[in-house]
Symmetry: C2
Subunit: 243 residues, 2 copies
Amino acid sequence: MSQDINAVMNEYLPLRDVVFQTLRQAILRGELEPGERLMEIHLANRLGVSRTPIREAIRKLELEGLVVMIPRRGAIVASITEKDLKDVLEVRRTLEIMAGEMACERITPELLEQLKSAGEEFRRLKDTNDFTSLAEVDVKFHDVIYAATDNQRLITILNNLREQMYRYRLEYLKDTGSHERLNTEHYEIYEAIRKGDKTSASAAIGRHIDNQRDAILAAIREHEKEENNKTDKNGKMKPRNAE
Amino acid sequence: MSQDINAVMNEYLPLRDVVFQTLRQAILRGELEPGERLMEIHLANRLGVSRTPIREAIRKLELEGLVVMIPRRGAIVASITEKDLKDVLEVRRTLEIMAGEMACERITPELLEQLKSAGEEFRRLKDTNDFTSLAEVDVKFHDVIYAATDNQRLITILNNLREQMYRYRLEYLKDTGSHERLNTEHYEIYEAIRKGDKTSASAAIGRHIDNQRDAILAAIREHEKEENNKTDKNGKMKPRNAE
DNA sequence: TTATACTCTTATGTATACAAAAAACACAGG
DNA sequence: CCTGTGTTTTTTGTATACATAAGAGTATAA
């Protein structure tokens, strides 16, 4: 019942956190594009708050690497280079495998059931055009594995690494040709974890991430090709400002 | 020469960053103890700035997990439970091994030389009582391995994980009995990386971290025993406030 | 036309002000 | 002595003010 009190109290969220989550989502979804300036007054007017919570939110985005600060010029949305993405995926591959192996040992029957459901849900959705739901259920599938590790630090890091690629997630899921393969990989991963077979789990997850990497790198290259069309004859980017 | 201009320009550091680094060091070194409140006005007076940079620094510490926010109560230095430390060390073990294996493939001659130097420096210091220098050179040794990975994301994460244990670093290095073993382990790691022998590197680093884990967990238990002596008869902690 | 100096505007960095929540305190009543 | 209640104090959360740096624009001179 002290839980109930807590639940009531937790309804309060500081404005800075609302702003943080709002900006964060906007960046990860690509609504704010790399290179775009985050101007405090504009954001403050847009969100109906003062500069203070905006600035505090930007400090968090800064630490997370989603924006970079230019001294006395403010924050701009961080660009992700192909090298950055490769680095992220390299680390993520290792940690996803680690999570899978830990899940083999530690997963509970409930979580195993959820893993199965997520896999089946993906299979049902894979031939539709509902890419958003498909992405969500894919996230769910991996979330279950993370949860099974019972290691909060690992979960936090993996979530962060995964979010670095949200901008490209929908892009590469639109390549419907890969859905069948994703589905197969999910099944392999599920089976390996169910049996507690760390070797198979490790191999299946490794393949899964490798495929994802290739798809994402293809998507980012496509994206960059488009971007280049927006550059002027001197090869300089057109300035893009926040509204 | 545009470098020179940059060097001059980089002399400027926003107050918020100075405050951030100051508070961060104070927490990691244990000068601010877990549970201690960070009161904005006091800190502002102490550091001779206004609340604004203090608050922005706290936002970063919050995201880093070094402080936890209590709504409308402010920030307190985060406590690390034994479970937290185990989680951190579990992830760190995996990533340190990953870094070591990558170093086997990618290390440059210069970095290999630095690795050797760091190892020798450690050997020279291991029988002195200069624990601070010993800790520094131990950090240096691992930094070289990180640098050899050529993966900035991995480096950032590893640094962060390592820093989570700075509070206990000096504690466990005071256990002089372990110095000889640490020295041996460094040598094994160096040799494995020099030969490009991923299997040996992986094994040596794994042992290294395992030993470190045991030492740190022993230190934290010792620490907690002391802490319990500070609790009153009701088992409640004595409040500790920032000056 | 191009370069340069000067102004003017805009946005950041820091300090301060103000409202409201929480804690500390004091006091009356059992 | 304890307990509950009203009051004061402290501290946070948010808004605003002010100084200054960076950039944009403008006019002038070569």
